[in-house]
């Protein structure tokens, strides 16, 4: 008798969970498997092993589609988009490692191979390049720095597009002009700082003459200024293109600009080493 009562109470709780989406720990009792916190609703969102109703449908949807159900759940139940995304990607029964590998492997391979293509150019002038020790010291720092600026430009420009702060006549936009100038000033300053640090670090193994110091500074500055300008142009063109296609530019701009940054940096370094040395 008691067992029947317990079973029916459990079934009722499960039904409530499916119907209401939200239920308290007391209401849902033992059926709870995971609890999420919906930041906007200030409620505990309870999800059973088999996600209740619409959440289970959401999880099972192919990830390529931005289904209206996602928007409906966000609007109706005040669940944040991030929570819904997480439920969809990493909910119960999902293969976390498999999902990450499947989604990341192509873009990682592409980014690494594009970065390496720049190395082909530098490999051709290897003898001249490795003979200038300050440039070897500067190489990882310059690579990091240009890549970081690519990420910053991409992230900031994507946000501006989402907020509707930038239109097609982008060259008239004061905020965008300010961003470009800020990045340019930072790039010049950090490139000069990096070149100075590289010259100081390498002075014990390498005779640094005034002419070499000037060339190292010139290479670092020309590389930084040219690449920041190119990255800015790439981010603006690609950003408008993906935004026009109703895609989130954040998902595309960072891999594109960081790959262009690495490839361009190695290519430009090879060119500048040939010109200056």
């Amino acid at each position: 008798m008691n067992e029947n009562r317990e079973n029916s109470a459990k079934k009722a709780a499960e039904r409530r969970a499916r119907e209401k989406l939200y239920c308290t720990r007391e209401e849902c009792g033992n059926v709870l498997e995971k609890t999420f916190h919906a930041a906007h609703a200030h409620k505990r969102v309870v999800v059973t092993r088999h996600l209740p109703g619409k959440l289970e449908r959401l999880r099972a949807l192919p990830r390529k589609h931005f289904h209206p159900l996602q928007h409906e759940l966000h609007k109706k139940h005040k669940l944040s988009h991030k929570t819904l995304f997480y439920v969809k990607e990493y909910g119960p029964h999902s293969n976390v490692a498999g999902t990450i590998i499947k989604e990341s492997v192509k873009i990682l391979l592409l980014a690494s191979i594009v970065s390496s293509l720049g190395g082909f150019a530098l490999e051709h002038v290897k003898a001249a390049f490795v003979a200038i020790v300050p440039l070897v010291v500067l190489l990882p720092a310059l690579n990091d720095m240009i890549g970081d600026y690519g990420s910053i430009i991409s992230a900031r420009f994507s946000t501006m597009l989402h907020e509707g702060r930038v239109r097609r006549d982008w060259w008239k936009n004061a905020a965008l002009r300010k961003l470009f100038l800020q990045i340019l000033v930072l790039a010049i300053f950090t490139a000069a700082l990096g070149a100075a640090a590289a010259l100081v670090v390498s002075h014990t193994d390498f005779a640094v003459s005034a002419s070499v110091a000037f060339k190292v500074f010139a290479i670092a500055l020309v590389d930084a200024v040219l690449l920041v300008t190119v990255l800015f142009a790439v981010a603006v063109v690609a950003g408008f293109y993906f935004f026009g296609k109703r895609e989130d530019p954040s998902n595309f701009l960072i891999p594109i600009t960081t790959s262009v940054a690495d490839f361009g940096n190695m290519l430009l370094l090879a060119l500048l080493v040939t010109v200056f040395f």
Binding site: K34, F36, H37, S80, K82, T83, Y86, Y90, N95, V96, A97, G98, T99, I100, I101, S104, V105, L108, A111, S112, I113, S115, S116, G118, G119, F120, K126, F129, V130, V133, V136, V137, L138, L139, P140, A141, D144, M145, G147, D148, S151, A174, A175, K178, L181, Q182, I183, L186, F189, T190, L193, G194, A197, A198, V201, S202, D205, T258, D262, M266
Partner: protein, 189 residues
């Protein structure tokens, strides 16, 4: 009615500028340390045929994988799907396994690209260039991935937003561990 203060109207050296500058200083320091190690062992490392092909991709990969890993962890922490005091969970273990697999796989591909370059352009069969990034990838990730996990959880527990801090942290530590791992792998092989 006064217009709201927009980003364009704020000063040139505003908070954004200062944040970018400080994160770049951290990144620059890591880069110069890695570069100094690279310069010290140029004869052993950079003079290997195809090494300059591997190097940018190898350094880039470490940042890409660890930054994404830290970003996924941060999202999970903020959504309370991940408990900062509990490491042995399905999501964290899945993330660790995926990051490690991706790093090893991409390292192998980079090695094969460098081998192909040597074979087709330099007409040289140099198998070491395939195994060098592979072994270095295993070593670097055995250090970098747990370090990223620990740092993200620690920063979150201390009340910081790991999204703002993990980028420069990962790029600076990533460069140093990558170069060190390449040197260790070279000594082993």
């Amino acid at each position: 009615m006064a217009e709201p203060k927009t980003a364009a109207r704020a000063g040139f050296f505003d908070r954004d500028f200062r944040e970018m500058f400080s994160s770049q200083l951290v990144s620059l320091t890591g880069g110069v340390i890695a570069g100094a190690a690279l310069a010290a062992y140029t004869d052993k490392l950079l003079l290997l045929p195809g090494m300059l092909i591997i190097l940018p991709g190898f350094l880039e990969m470490r940042g890409n994988i660890s930054s994404s890993f830290a970003s996924r962890l941060s999202s999970g922490l903020f959504l309370r799907v991940i408990d900062p005091n509990k490491v042995k969970t399905k999501i964290i273990e899945g993330n660790l396994a995926a990051s490690f697999f991706l790093a090893v796989f991409v390292s192998l591909v980079l090695g094969l690209v460098a081998f192909a370059f040597n074979y087709f352009f330099l007409h040289e069969v140099y198998w070491k260039i395939v195994f060098l990034p592979l072994l270095a990838g295993v070593i670097a990730n055995a250090i970098e991935i747990p370090l990223t996990l620990a740092a993200t959880l620690y920063l979150f527990k201390k009340g910081h937003d790991p999204n703002n801090l993990m980028g420069p942290f990962v790029s600076s530590t990533g460069d140093v561990t990558s170069i060190t791992s390449l040197l260790i792998a070279l000594a082993v092989l």
